[in-house]
């Protein structure tokens, strides 16, 4: 892209000297971080599901891990898009599913239950972060209960009634290069 920008920018185009106030906030960055985390985890689940099934003592269930991986990738893409709110909501829902799944693996017969416990603790922690980010993004986009009143903004100094069809008296004219300059 920088090659392209050199091609299309002129020498004299303004260049950045220093950066000031910006539109991205901490929550936006947090959402981006979570989005990339989803993508990374999802790819890992898709590519190496047996590493996970072995660690959790459920070899043979790779297809489930892959499906969860696909879900993570979808959540990640949505979270990285402009629809962060939906993305984060899908992450929270996914966290719920992960927790339920891990809880089911905690039985005393599972020799790997310590790994499962550790994973569970991690997922709970991440859920808390997801909830925080989702809450902050939703708050920003929430519709207020009352809105401003613009009912006096007709844009017609002579009022709406007088404006109806008034342009028909002198219909629109069009200018061309010769006539404007």
């Amino acid at each position: 892209m920088s090659i392209l920008s050199r091609l299309t920018r002129n020498e004299g185009d303004p260049k950045i000297l220093s950066s000031g106030p910006r539109s991205r906030e901490a929550t936006d960055e947090l959402a981006r971080g979570l989005g990339w985390f989803s993508l990374g985890l999802g790819l890992f689940q898709l590519m190496a599901p047996q590493r996970i099934t072995r660690a959790f003592g459920v070899t043979g269930s790779e297809h489930v891990v892959r499906a969860y991986g696909a879900r993570e990738i979808a959540s990640g893409m949505l979270t990285l898009s402009t629809d962060k709110r939906a993305g984060l909501a899908s992450r929270v829902a996914g966290d719920g599913l992960d927790i339920v799944t891990l809880l089911a693996l905690l039985s005393y017969r599972n020799p790997q239950r310590h790994t499962v416990k550790a994973a569970l603790a991690m997922v709970v922690g991440i859920t808390a972060i997801d909830l925080l980010a989702a809450g902050a993004v939703s708050a920003r986009k929430a519709r207020p209960k009352t809105v401003k009143d613009y009912s006096d903004r007709s844009g017609f100094p002579g009022g709406v009634v007088g404006a109806r069809g008034i342009a028909r008296q002198k219909p629109p004219t069009e200018a061309r290069a010769e006539t404007t300059h």
């Binding site: 299309t8 539109s23 300059h181």
Partner: protein
Amino acid sequence: MRALVWHGKEDIRCDTVTDPEIEDPRDAIIKVTSCAICGSDLHLFHNFIPAMMPGDIMGHEMMGEVVETGSGMNGKLKKGDRIVVPFTIQCGECDQCRRGNFSVCERSNRNKALADKAFGHTTAGLFGYTHLTGGYPGGQAEYLRVPFADSTHIKVPDSLTDEQVLFLGDILPTGWQAAVHCDIEPTDTVVVWGCGPVGQMAIRSAVLLGAKLVVAIDCIPERLSMAQAGGALTIDFSQESVVERLNELTDGKGPEKCIDAVGLESHVSMSQPDTLLDRAKQIMMLENDRPHVLREMIYVCRPGGIISIPGVYSGLVDKIPMGQAMNKGLTFRMGQTHVNRWTPDLVRRIEEGQIDPSFVITHTATLEEGPEMYKVFRNKQDSCIKVVLKP
């Protein structure tokens, strides 16, 4: 100087940058006194228009005072002149400019080769927009270099305020052109999808041009109330069926004229399943735009009617029912606005008091507050409809 600079998706910063310089005899530099944030800027903010690059200065709705000119003004512009800058850069000499097709000027796109490849043939250079249209630094800044300035300007009477004339550079002629494209007759029902600033101007234009009934569609209450103030009957698409209501209003025949003032970021909702599919495809880069409004217009429009599209589309759209459109004999008219084509007429109408476009401004802020105002406008917080920045 300070300027609002695009750094990436949803990342706009108020940076300090080097001042623009005269590069060509036909250049002028203006000191920007007012500039605005447009719905088109939101498409860039969301990174939906290809070929934006980090470091690009935003903004294409601006006005100010000429502080320096090149040697090639031919007496048409001088230091001290107060001008509004049209968002389309025009050479004023090519075949297209001579036909008044300023937004497809053949010479002003400094990135013509790329545009020829992307569009088949180049279109005009635009300020603060993608590199496909020249990547010219925009006017959300303290100073702006105006190329082809002897032609690319609108002189405005001192008797009118910045707020009254600023929108001559974009949204007023955009709404006007959209309505003129409808060939409005006194028996027509004109429907405007989208009550953002462009929709508001289209509504006013259709009223002035004497439509029997103007209907406005959106889901944002304050925008609908402003549409109603301008003489439109309103439909909240989140509350009622657009197609049913429009048929009801037209004795089951459908509106003669339809205007799309929404563009590529149609609202995504469960009640409009096609928008969910479009959004999913957009994220997977299988489709550029969400054309729900186009589909709805084609379906509901009266056979023989006109579809006018000021809303911006960037690339490929799916599932456009060409069969319906063809068999119903619809006419499509669209385009970036040929701003200066409408200038003398619209300046006169503002002076005569037919219309005062400043009604649409809901927020005024400084350039430093610009990055924050992008979010306020995007999130429609605080009933925001149009933001004007004072550098």
